[in-house]
Amino acid sequence: MNQFVTIGGIAYNFIIIAVCTIFIFMRRRRRQAQEDFMFGGKQMGWFAIAASIALTALGGGHINGLSFQSWVDGVGVIWYCFGAGLCLVIVMRFTGVWYRRSGCFTVNEMFGKLFAPVLTPILAGFTIGYCWLILCVETQGLASVISALTGLPNLTSGVVGILIGVLYVLLAGIEEVGLVNSVNAILMYVFGFIALGVIGICVPNGWVGINNTLVVNTPELVAAFGNAEIIRSYIIGTFLSLALGMNFIQSNCQAVASADDLRVMRKAGIGAVVMNVMFGVIIIGFGLAALGLKQQGFIGAEMGIAGMMEMILTFFPPWLQICVVGMFAAAMLSTISMVALTIALSLNKEVLGHFGAFKGMSQKKEGTLARIWIVLAGLTAAIAAVNIKDAVNTTITWGFSWFIPLFFMFLIGLYWKRSTVAAMVTIFACWACNLALSFTNMAAKFNLEGNNHSIFLVVISLVLGLLITGLDKNAKPSFKKLYKEQRAAYDAARAK
């Protein structure tokens, strides 16, 4: 057990959390402001929003998933990050803008109001399921890191990891998460790029040896677009899944709703894209460096995350080991916190909110209940996470694809017409297709096995969404028209 690095990595996060929590409590006391656990009083600054959005979409899927996948698909894996980056552009310039304009608590509530009220609890159920899946992915990521450091079994490491994750968000809600994310976003890049430089100095033969080995043994892993097989089985499907599937996931929109006005979102959008995508350079760089070292016989690990951890613990100086491990934990903890908050929000507003005793809850009661949901979701995720060790990247891409039909139905409803029938049929047809693709070899018949569920769902969403909306004589006017009418009436009433 590497006690020094384990304790150091955990202490790294505890110190940041403690300092930020104390700062927020003092500021709140000074302003005599009430706690807003879910939306931070809608006054978060652009950097905190950018960091929160960037780091929410950046966690175990990157650290565990990209390091693993880089051994299979090489630098082409960066298209996962480009897909996430394009998604953030879409959120900050389009879907998040309309979500904010709608004034709804959640994107599910917005879909319920626009297409069919029954969609709100259905989508809330899916959001909770999706967020719990991400909790499992992040917990597995933390478990891999803790396990590599301590030698503890995977399950025990997962429980330890999730306990730290729950603590991360339990104390002060989104405001604390925003500040902790801001601090972590800066430190992650500082230590990440220092580490890339250190690999060139501290590992045998440096980057020259790694590059030469990879070019000779596996040239497709260092080619900009890999090869035809990598493009077919990974790049296209993954890019589509990330870019179009993440737009209406509440955890990615949560920080958008915390912005005071749209000008804040403009700056936050640029910051979020840079922060999110550039992190891929660090992790894929680490993964491929570990593979180069394995090909030269300097490390013996059998897969990406284990190889990366072996490289860090073997060749990095101790202080940098602590910082890199702390940085990995921080990236995963930030995602855990945001998806845990989303689970709490969906359960409070969209499930419990339908029952009399919970209607119109005070912010204090909401905060207490949210903390209970976060603890329960975290502990159950720790137990379930043990089975997805090698499939993190696939799992997470699969998870995003469920939300692709929402993007296309929103697009059709915003600019053309809103059809309840079209929304229900399209969404359920896509979900049925995703199930069929998951449990049969249907994708292989189209020569689209791999991370390609998104391609099927894009086609089905477009065809069914447009066709049924066009045929539905009871379709309502577009969302844009509805918004303009209601907003004008609201502004006129305010002006009186």
């Binding site: 809608k42 006054q43 630098v75 960066i78 990050c81 480009f82 980056g85 394009l86 552009v89 900050m92 310039r93 389009f94 803008v97 304009r101 709608s102 004034g103 709804c104 109001k113 626009l114 069919a116 009220p117 890339l196 060139g200 980057w207 590059n211 990879l214 070019v215 040239p219 497709e220 260092v222 080619a223 900009a224 677009f225 890999g226 090869n227 035809a228 097989e229 493009i231 005071d260 006005d261 749209l262 403009r266 959008g269 640029i270 894209v273 840079v274 995508v277 550039m278 891929g280 350079v281 894929i284 760089g285 491929l288 180069g292 309840t420 309502k476 509805l482 209601q486 907003r487 305010r494």
Partner: protein
């Protein structure tokens, strides 16, 4: 199997490759911002009482 695209040198060639992608995404975002329809209410801060919430126009039957 033949490779596609130039060989990327780690880590700084890869850094540059990714940076080009990021710059393209930021440009897309800024063009989108310039072209998108801006409403006056978008610049009303929430803290100044901008608490509009859209109402559903679906009929009772559908609700």
């Amino acid at each position: 199997m033949n490779t596609i695209g130039p060989i990327i040198t780690l880590p700084w060639g890869f850094f540059l490759y990714t940076l080009i992608g990021v710059i393209i995404l930021v440009i897309i975002g800024e063009i989108w911002w310039a072209k998108m329809e801006h409403f006056p209410e978008d610049e009303q801060p929430y803290s100044e009482g901008n608490h509009f919430v859209i109402k559903s126009d679906l009929t009772d039957e559908e609700e």
